[in-house]
């Protein structure tokens, strides 16, 4: 299959797309690296996949590539979990409604399943194995009590449509969590339903739309975002039916107030600001920015993904933001799960309360809790998902907030900011720090001078960090900085770790001068080396070939 989309657009090298490489470039790179070795096979003469075969000696302990479940599958394996269904169980299903094709799921013993995933886990880097300074993602420690709490059967086994009387514990927790988030943010009310930050953005922007419409102000068709904004901001605007207007940042990294003023107008529905910004900088002109937004009759949306920097220091609601989202999986330590799930509650000021999605959690006069009934509040924008939210994630966030309390959260922000500034200071000699002022929880460094001097790019530095035992920071984001490294240490990493990381980056800068090839070919010690992303996109292989299916006799 040729993917025409891929031919015309660009493919990112690593995260973000600051220095995108075209397919052509990637192909050239691939040729250069002479990718010609055939795919090493995991099967032997008998068609049996196993370790050690055809791959020569390999370590007993440590990461090793794994065959797929399909390759491991042998017809007739795996059983014992369930009683067999009576033979006539499906007699009432008309023939033409029955599954025609074989059910091609892999058949494995439980040991094979466990070993497969345990060994796959060894190929992963994670917060629980090392420092993960991925900017904008707040990879802080995930306390284990959170995991314990979410698995309490009372929480975990509760059906989402359970009558309110059966759900008082969870309802109370959600109600209290809403109030705690309101206090933390200075917002008037909070909905916990959105499943992630982007989902919260959509929810927030839909409320903004509903607000304008409720006032008959229906000509507003634009959402303004700064050029440093996260991709979800403009994508959200589009999903909500708005046109995105991008305003540039000033030389100090803040939004250019004049540019914003000229972009604002009667067509502006909302301005989405990230504060602290994706550059790790607090918008020093926040008061003026908000005034300008409101003067134009627009609403101010705060992308709260970076709230971890300003807990107890800055409350968006008090400052005048009309709506914001939280990233529970960033600020409140719920784990990132290899990509999710998270939770993206949305806080609103007074004006937007009527439009909150349904159902809200309500407290009755007798102190009990209930869910709002469908249709109970006609001003609501309606549902943004099924049921009540990523409750399992919210239990974790609640636990975290309680464990910290108000003062602990403030301390967390102070420590996160202190760590980031310290790290910035330590790198200042060897990397360019484009915005030379106090950062918040993260900061931008760039390998621009290094690249000029040695040809070693940010991508290479990042990959070389892997050889030093670290997860690379976010790279090539935000897009407005060349060769950006966005570094977020968080408050849960020790000084020793911060120093070791700084030492590694300094050592790599030296290496880049002395032995650039080693850096450019990094990583050298990871389970795999750099990948052929061009072929992946040109000839997408998105699933294993269909399995023959379970034609085997049922094992007993």
């Amino acid at each position: 299959m040729t993917d025409t989309l891929e031919q015309t657009t660009k493919i990112p090298a690593g995260e973000g797309s600051g220095t995108e490489r075209t397919n052509r470039e990637l192909e050239a790179a691939a040729r250069e690296n002479e990718i010609s070795t055939p795919d090493r096979d995991f099967t032997d003469a008998r068609g049996a996949p196993h370790r050690g075969d055809g791959m020569g000696p390999r370590a007993a302990v440590g990461p090793s590539p794994q065959p797929t479940l399909a390759e491991l599958s042998r017809p007739g394996r795996g059983d014992g979990k369930l009683p067999h269904a009576p033979a006539d169980a499906l007699d009432a299903i008309p023939e033409e409604q029955r599954r025609a094709r074989p059910l091609g799921l892999p058949e494995l013993s439980e040991l094979e399943v466990i070993r497969h995933f345990v060994n796959l886990s060894h190929l992963n880097y994670a917060v629980d194995t090392g420092f993960y300074p991925l900017g904008s993602c707040t990879m802080k420690y995930n306390p284990k009590i959170n995991e314990w709490a979410a698995r309490l059967p009372g929480f975990a086994a509760l059906h989402p449509l359970a009558p309110d009387t059966l759900a008082q514990g969870t309802l109370e927790l959600l109600y209290e969590l809403e109030r705690m988030l309101a206090e933390i943010s200075g917002m008037r009310a909070v909905t916990l339903q959105p499943a992630a930050g982007a989902h919260g953005e959509l929810t927030g922007i839909l409320m903004a739309r509903a607000y304008h419409e409720s006032r008959g102000d229906s000509e507003r068709s634009e959402v303004i975002v700064p050029d440093s904004s996260h991709g979800t901001n403009p994508a959200t605007a589009s999903m909500a039916g708005y046109t995105t207007i991008t305003v540039r940042s000033g030389a100090d990294g803040g939004v250019d107030l004049d540019a914003l003023r000229s972009a604002l107008g009667p067509r502006t529905a909302a301005v989405m600001l990230t504060n602290p910004s994706t550059l790790g900088l607090f918008e020093r002109q926040i008061v003026e920015l908000l005034d300008a937004v409101h003067e134009a009759g627009a609403l101010a949306y705060m992308d709260g993904a970076n709230l971890n920097a300003v807990l107890g220091k800055f409350k968006p609601g008090q400052a005048g933001f009309d709506v914001m989202h939280f990233n529970v999986h960033k600020t409140f330590s719920t784990p990132h799960g290899g990509g999710g799930p998270g939770a993206g509650p949305v806080g609103v000021g007074e004006k937007l309360v009527p439009f909150l999605p349904s159902p809200r959690v309500l407290q009755e006069a007798d102190g009990s809790y209930r869910l709002e009934r469908s249709g109970e509040r006609p001003t609501s924008i309606g549902r943004v998902r099924s049921f009540q939210g990523n409750v399992g994630v919210l239990v974790r966030g609640y636990t975290y907030i309680k464990a910290h309390g108000g003062s602990g959260l403030t301390q967390a922000s102070e420590d996160a900011v202190l760590a980031a500034n310290y790290l910035k200071q330590r790198l200042a000699g060897s990397y360019e720090i484009p915005y030379d002022r106090a950062c918040k929880h993260e900061f931008i460094a760039t390998a621009r001078p290094l690249k000029a001097a040695t040809g070693v790019r940010t991508l290479d530095v990042a990959k070389r960090l892997i050889d030093y035992g670290f997860h690379p920071p976010t790279i090539y984001f935000p897009l407005i900085v060349d060769e950006a490294l966005l570094i977020e240490p968080t408050e849960t990493e020790s000084l020793e770790t911060l120093d070791a990381f700084a030492d590694a980056l300094l050592a790599i800068a030296d290496e880049a001068r002395e032995d650039p090839e080693t850096v450019k070919k990094a990583p050298h010690t990871a389970p795999v080396r750099r990948l052929d992303e061009a072929t992946a996109a040109r000839q997408p292989d998105l699933r294993w070939s269909p399995m023959t299916g379970a034609e085997s006799p049922c094992p007993t």
């Binding site: 891929e6 690593g14 795996g78 369930l82 269904a85 299903i93 409604q97 029955r98 892999p106 058949e107 995933f117 060894h122 992963n124 994670a126 802080k140 929480f155 975990a156 086994a157 059906h159 989402p160 359970a162 009558p163 969870t170 927790l173 206090e183 933390i184 499943a195 982007a198 996260h230 991709g231 589009s238 008061v287 807990l311 107890g312 800055f314 409350k315 990132h336 799960g337 990509g339 799930p341 469908s374 309606g382 998902r385 049921f387 990523n390 994630v393 309680k402 464990a403 309390g405 108000g406 003062s407 760590a419 408050e491 000084l495 072929t535 996109a537 997408p540 998105l542 699933r543 294993w544």
Partner: protein, 449 residues
Amino acid sequence: MPYGPHTPGDRAHMLDALGIDSVQALFEDIPARVRSDGIDLPGPEPELTLAGRLEALAARNRVGLTSFLGAGAYRHYVPPAVDEILRRGEFYTSYTPYQPEISQGTLQTIYEYQSLIAELTGLDVVSASHYDGACATAEAALMTVRATRRQRVLMSRAIHRHYVDTTRTYFAAARLTLDELPTLPDGTTDLSALEAALADSERPVAGVLLGHPNVFGVLEPMSEATRLAHAAGALMVSVVEPVSLAVLATPADYGADICAGEGQPLGISLQYGGPYLGILASTQALVRQIPGRLVGRTRDVDGRRAYVMTLRAREQDIRRDRAASNICTNQALCALAATVYLAAIGPHGLRDVAALGAARARELEKALSEAGVPRVHAAPYLNEFAVRIEDAERVHAALLARDVVAGLPLAQWYPDDPELRDALLVCATETTTSAEIQRFATALAEVRS
């Protein structure tokens, strides 16, 4: 700070290095007018008492009742092997595999997830996860709009109420049209209404969405609906319950273009509604339109098999306002749960889950109808169905007082439909026992006497 490592000495060392006296100096860029001084919440709560608080809250929920609730979220037996894997820090404390060299574990499991859902649905392209069934359905509807450049979709009213509502919310925002299709007395979607709606050439239809089984548990005429949709140039979207695919015709069997559904039944616990797993799959032809993450298999420079995120130009971090969706953080760990579940339960096991649920549902139907509580609809069902009972809400409450959750009163979702005012939607799975069914019947007799 309960989880912070910094000692006063550590902080002093860092402040020293920065040449400042106090961390406050780092917050002076916050204009005084908007600077706040703290959060008005109680202080840190030690884990000891916090654990007690959480146990007490959890205990206030009542989860041990005899329950016949389904309606989009299902209790199933989950082999403990699933949680054993989910608890591994290497999986749950990592993030989006931006650095494939040290994320092959996550990447390969996503590839395996894509492959397994492809096997289940028969569709070749599977997005690595959406928020839930409702959001996946809304995204599917938006996909049909993007792919056909038409502005209107038709959605059966017998799709899960929350999915219809969510899609409506998304569509209202984007100024797109969503029309609901009526149902027939037998519980299936009215295909003549579909035909008529498709015939409106002024308002060409991008996609047709049906649930299968639908919200009443009933099997829809998917083949016929697909034929009609395709004849009108519309795409067909099937909204499925994934376990049912072990025994029911797959979206590929009847020619659907897109499949959306809730993956919760695949090894994910109920958790009062989330995190769940939005399943979204499509034919190869729509690979450029599908939103969300895709992982592809490739090689590294040494020719080793390896996996990487691919076709990323559909995603927000690359495409920004022209992305296929704004989705970023997804439900990856839930997709891992589904992957381990499917591997652990296997094809025979999944078929047993589906067939046992059907068998138990039949037993339930028999017990209820013997108790004088008949089905509402006549069309075939798998493991969930609606029954008619006078004064349904009151009966439901009375049964609850006897620790029986008699499913869902459908009036909650269809308040204006007289047909459903007295309907309860009940469900059985492989975890439902004959004793529970008996308890239901007995309690019912008590309540009505």
